[in-house]
């Protein structure tokens, strides 16, 4: 083959690339940059919460409007511009083709397009920090009428109402959804169509299943929020009143549209992360994943349930109380399949041959933290108790206990697991372990006190509690300060990760092809995989978890190995 034919310009190769690995890295880098921005915002408003009226180092003083804008942007950025690209897009792009044994995505150009839509959405969002009105300040859930901004409707200048934080965040969300839809279609088609020879559906690694489950859940729940965002946009710039009660519209309608998507969205993020944890646990237990088929069935049940539980976010929003009972039952029921999945993961450990390597530590940390997050969901799923803790810090602690392990523990487990594969270099394991312990401990220090503040009735999204004497006692203040200081250390300890990442990229030890002795296909090619991933396309003979086979000398048996 003519080598010159493959010479591509820098732009074609690294910027407007159609190669799934490059696109995966683009998503990853964008996601990490956005995570830094989201973390910085968190630092600013957490500092303000703990030490109100003090000037914030590296920022200055924070007014109530900026406070609201920062918590809004933090939420939106962390979910849509960090968790989505890191877990769904980056992992999907890097893992699906390599794990199912193919050269690239089904539609490489669409894949590139989806990244650039995503990039554009991030730019549009960040633009909102530089418009006169500042970023949107009504909470990331965008509830109208606050987000429909009645006084902006009276503004005759459409351009002016366009260049406001609220309009920009809606546009950015819409662009992001379009991007993820394109990416998602690509993932599904790739998985259905391009599997290697012999790779039947039930021989796919669980993470490929789970990324596709996430995509399916996303595709079938995102429609309402796209329609809702369109309506909200019209409300803001064209003066319609879809959500304006004074013109017959209904503000609660938007909440339904938002949460119909918003709840499955949690599972969209959870599934890729759970898939990563499954791979890591099985590899480092040197044992087959426990209950492979059961896990797939349980997840399917969870997906079906996930689209009928959305109104548990609205127990106090004036929905019919009898309807709330129905949603409460659905919400509580969803704990059962997830309990099954978690127990299967734990059962994988029993009888294994456990290596506590870095990715395994993150995976075990994920399970430990996620257990707390999942179990505290019971308080919120119970409609009666939810009346009390709704919109309090209890909810904040709960979703940090779920979304933080999902986003960061899941991502870091994946990162430390596949880093040697996709960069061809090994990281410093000591630094990686320090990074783990700092993140694990200071995350608890940050989020656990917030449960107690919430149970004491501290409501959310308040920049200054001084108006509430009952929330200003000395223990309240010291809990808030403890949480903030932990959060700051948590953020600072991510610099260990950054340092480790940059140093390993420059001068890390060269990694072997299969450093963890894993079975799945991506480990059976060079590190990093060549353009096209495999020199010779693999033929698959067995399921991906054949560890500890007594007939073999080694304790692992790659999927494509001919016996």
């Amino acid at each position: 083959m003519n080598i010159a034919h493959h010479e591509m310009s820098f732009w074609r190769r690294y910027i407007f690339s159609t190669d799934h690995k490059v696109i995966g890295f683009q998503y990853l880098i964008t996601g990490l940059i956005m995570a830094a921005i989201g973390g910085y915002l968190a630092y600013v408003f957490r500092y303000n919460l703990a030490f109100p009226a003090e000037s914030i180092p590296l920022f200055g003083s924070l007014g109530p409007k900026e406070y609201n804008a920062f918590i809004t942007s933090h939420g939106a950025i962390m979910i849509f511009w960090v968790a989505m690209p890191l877990l769904l897009a980056a992992l999907g792009n890097l893992l699906i083709p390599t794990m199912i044994g193919t050269d690239d995505m089904a539609f490489p150009t669409l894949n590139m397009l989806s990244y650039w839509f995503f990039f554009l959405s991030a730019i549009v969002l960040l633009l909102s920090f530089f418009v006169p009105s500042g970023p949107f300040d009504g909470g990331w859930t965008l509830y109208p009428p606050l987000s429909a901004d009645a006084y902006i409707n009276t503004e005759p200048d459409i351009w002016k109402s366009f260049m406001t934080g609220g309009t920009l965040i809606i546009l950015a969300l819409a662009l992001e959804f379009v991007s993820m839809l394109m990416g998602g279609i690509n993932f599904l088609v790739t998985t259905i169509n391009k599997r290697a020879k012999g790779m039947t559906l039930l021989k796919m690694p669980i993470v490929v299943w789970f990324i596709n489950f996430a995509v399916i859940d996303f595709m079938f729940s995102v429609g309402p929020i796209i329609a809702g965002a369109f309506m909200l946009l019209l409300d803001r710039v064209a003066g319609t009143g879809f959500f304006d009660a004074y013109r017959g519209g209904d503000p609660v309608l938007f909440q339904h549209m938002f949460w119909f998507f918003g709840h499955p969205e949690v599972y969209v993020l959870l599934f890729p992360s759970l898939g990563v944890i499954a791979e890591v646990i099985s590899t480092f237990s040197r044992k087959a994943l426990f209950g492979y088929k059961f896990i797939i069935k349980a997840s399917l049940i969870a997906i079906v349930l996930s689209v009928v539980v959305w109104a548990h976010h609205q127990f106090i929003a004036g929905i019919d109380p009898r309807m709330a009972t129905f949603f409460s039952i659905g919400t509580i029921l969803i704990s059962i399949p997830f309990a099954g999945i978690m127990l299967s993961y734990i059962a994988t450990l029993w009888g294994g041959n456990i290596q506590l390597k870095v990715p395994m530590m993150w995976a075990l940390g994920f399970i430990a933290i996620f257990l707390v997050g999942g179990l505290t969901g019971l308080y919120l799923g119970s409609d009666t108790f939810d009346i009390y803790v709704h919109d309090t810090s209890f909810v904040v602690a709960h979703f940090h206990y779920t979304l933080f392990p999902i986003t960061f523990f899941g991502f870091f487990a994946a990162f430390y697991y596949w880093f040697p594969k996709f960069t061809g270099r090994m990281y410093n394991t000591v630094l990686a372990k320090i990074h783990f312990w700092f993140t694990f401990i200071f995350f608890q220090g940050f989020a656990f006190p917030i449960f107690f503040l919430g149970l004491d009735g501290q409501h959310r999204r308040i920049n200054d509690y001084s108006a509430f004497d009952s929330l200003m006692s000395s223990w309240h203040i010291s809990f808030r300060q403890f949480a903030t200081i932990s959060a700051i250390i948590l953020i600072l300890s991510q610099f260990i990760f950054l340092f480790n990442l940059l140093k390993s990229l420059r001068s890390g030890k060269k990694s072997e092809e299969n450093p963890w002795k894993a079975n799945t296909l991506e480990w059976q090619t060079t590190s990093p995989p060549p353009h096209g991933n495999f020199v010779k396309y693999p033929q698959v003979y067995r399921d991906p978890y054949d560890y500890g086979n007594p007939d073999m000398k080694e304790d692992y048996l790659p999927q494509n190995k001919v016996i």
Binding site: P64, G318, P321, T376, D555
Partner: protein, 229 residues
């Protein structure tokens, strides 16, 4: 020793609190068992060179029994919880008490609560209603009476939060949502807005003043007299 939940002053709040302790029992138990099941194998099955792991893959009922048992326990806890909470839910949200002692309207606006008391005719939504509309105002209610509240909003969504009553309800523009409570202990308690409603959301605080009946009647007559002027 500080209590985990703030002081409860309503008749149904005790049920919410006991629900909290029931759920906490389940949660702590489930967490302890799962975390033990997670940590024990880390010691028992630590890596040994040359050892092969077990080939149990979770196929069939027999191998899956522990997982199913865990799910069953989870399901039982869930259903017990749903069963235990339902009567409280019906009491708090689905029904109103038969006897209605006092009816008042709470309206949210940016950024204070407006309290509308019935006038001397003791009927709401008539011309002689007394409207208290200023920041940091108080809602006065008699102790030991069934109080019905109509919750409304003028501009954006607010959420009225009586933490000592364990009651919270969003106030939605265009809707009137009716809830009730019965408070037993006289005193002054905070009312917060729990749904982000704009710049001064943090300052949207009122007080719930619970008074004995004669004291409350005195307050009402003062209110009427003030309106006359």
């Amino acid at each position: 020793m500080k209590q985990i939940l703030p002081e409860n002053i309503s008749t149904y709040g005790g049920e919410v609190d006991s629900l909290f302790f029931t759920i906490t029992l389940f949660v702590v138990l489930a967490f302890a068992i799962s975390i033990a099941a997670l940590i024990i194998p880390l010691f028992r099955y630590r890596y040994k060179e040359g050892r092969k792991s077990s080939r149990v893959r979770g196929i069939g009922m027999k191998q899956m029994r522990w997982v199913f048992a865990g799910m069953l326990v989870m399901a039982l806890c869930d259903f017990y919880m749903l069963y235990a909470e339902h009567s409280t839910w019906v009491k708090m949200e689905e029904t109103l008490p038969e006897q209605e002692d006092f009816h008042v309207v709470i309206t949210g606006r940016q950024w204070n609560w407006i309290f509308t008391y019935p006038g001397p005719d003791n009927k709401l939504y008539t011309a002689d209603d007394v409207i208290v509309n200023r920041m940091n105002s108080s809602l006065h209610v008699p102790a030991g009476k069934n109080i019905i509240i109509d919750i409304k909003a003028i501009d954006v969504i607010h959420s009225v939060f009586f933490k000592n009553i364990r009651l919270k309800q969003d106030a939605i523009p265009g809707r009137t949502i009716t809830r009730w409570f019965n408070v037993t202990k006289p005193g002054k308690y905070e009312i917060a807005c729990a749904e982000i409603c704009g710049v001064l959301h943090s300052k949207m605080r009122s007080y719930l003043v619970v008074q004995e009946e004669d004291e409350f009647n005195r307050f009402l007559s003062e209110l009427y007299a003030e309106k006359q002027k």
